[in-house]
Point group: C2
Chain length 276, copies 2
């Protein structure tokens, strides 16, 4: 896929700004040893590696295939980061958290971090054992995920509704549409519940608004308004579930139509939880 | 249940105003013969009987039990209306539409009207045969139902989300929770589709804002935030469906929390369709 360079840079900048807004809330100290779970292409890693300084280290684990990603693959971006000045402070590992912890049984971390990755999990039940396995391995647990909260702003209502629509889809066709961005709809409450069950104690929670340029909201809206999504609904054999899925799409379209001239879909704010 | 008279009168007034706003869009002529389906206690009938004048007539059919309703039952309200000056222009029949049409095979109507009753149907599939049976018996078909559209107003987002939550519930436990207000989530698109399949042609559609005093939004929010609703979700054996239902309730709570000081939940606007 060809993306004009200017547009691509704008997107990258917005994504980095979003991560920076989140991570700057966590007051991470130089010299920290960090484990980032579900690091993807490494958007947060760049910022974290900068914060921990020369004495610190950031390990990013993600089981995603290395050829995932567009216009650059995971492998390309990782190689680029590794060859940068921050390279020595970064380790990437293509592995699940479990694999990583088992193959490094003595490594301890100051922070275990999940930034905007829980919704990609194959199933919401995967979170509990992960959080349990981090007990005794990390001093603090930091989690950021989009909230289900439009925060009174009508330009974020479409992102909320597109998220609910995909949450409905994933409750109906779990495992089938692996391309969906929201396969595992976690919320502040479900995250706090999972953390508590794993023995973590909530220290602080807050919300961070995302920059207007962040594309997550628009991307989720496009996914739900796609022909493919419509086809998926049309295949649903249960009439009443199909109707409910259609109603969610209709509510989304209405929310977009209600935006004023010049108003664009904005990404919802992120919820941040800090556990000890 | 005891309701202070002043509060009860305010509620009745808001409900009548809401129906008046809707019905006044339809330009109903004096002398008209009207069939109202799902007339309930007769909120719309009062207004319609007034509009059609002495030469007109309004027949209201509803299969609901006559002891339904609080603080006054359907039977009480009907008896009261029948004994009023408008009484001679009104006929109430405890019957389904099918029963009514079959027992009055030669009666023709100028209008067949559904005002805010489709969501009470036991199943959304009930609408199609009803609309088909009205072909040749009524010249025009007028339908009003709440839209799934917050219309850019954050005070109506809770009504939208409470509606979606109950739509989800009815897709999961159809027929079980007969007390739910939304057992059959129809939307402008699903209504237009059903009408078209039954041979009706859309003449005009529009939206009408509901008065700030209308209680529908607050009532649906209360229903979803009730202990009973929570218990219903907790019983859901399918983990992923239970989580999605919980997420809808959480999104609703967030939408309420985001209201400013003095802001109250407002009822969504109504969608109106006029078919010939």
């Amino acid at each position: 896929m060809y993306i004009p360079q200017e547009k691509y840079l704008r997107t990258v900048k917005a994504e980095l700004q979003q991560r920076l807004n989140i991570i700057s809330q966590w007051n991470i100290q130089p010299g920290s040893r960090i484990l980032e779970i579900g690091c993807g292409q490494g958007d947060s890693i760049v910022i974290l590696a900068n914060l921990v300084g020369e004495e610190g280290h950031v390990t990013g684990v993600d089981p995603a295939p290395l050829d995932y990603g567009d216009p650059f693959t995971v492998a390309q971006v990782h190689a680029n980061l590794k060859s940068s000045a921050l390279g020595p402070r970064i380790t990437f590992e293509q592995a699940t958290l479990q694999e990583h912890l088992e193959s490094n049984p003595d490594t301890q971390y100051d922070y275990a971090i999940f930034t905007h990755c829980l919704w990609y999990f194959g199933s919401p039940e995967e979170l509990n054992p992960m959080l349990a396995s981090l007990r005794g391995r990390a001093k603090r647990l930091l989690i950021a995920e989009f909230s289900l909260d439009a925060r009174g702003d009508r330009t974020t209502v479409p992102h909320l509704l597109a998220t609910l629509a995909q949450g409905e889809e994933s409750s109906r066709v779990a495992g089938v549409n692996y391309d969906s961005n929201i396969r595992s709809l976690h919320t502040p409450i479900s995250i706090k519940k999972a953390a508590s069950e794993a023995g973590w104690v909530l220290d602080k929670e807050s919300y961070v608004d995302n920059p207007p340029e962040a594309l997550d909201g628009r991307r989720e809206v496009q996914a739900v308004l796609s022909k493919e999504y419509e086809k998926g609904i049309a295949c649903e054999p249960d009439e009443i579930r199909r109707r409910f899925a259609e109603a969610l799409v209709e509510a989304l379209k209405a929310a977009i139509d209600s935006l004023g001239p010049g108003e664009e879909v904005r990404t919802m704010s992120s919820w941040l939880g800090c556990f000890a």
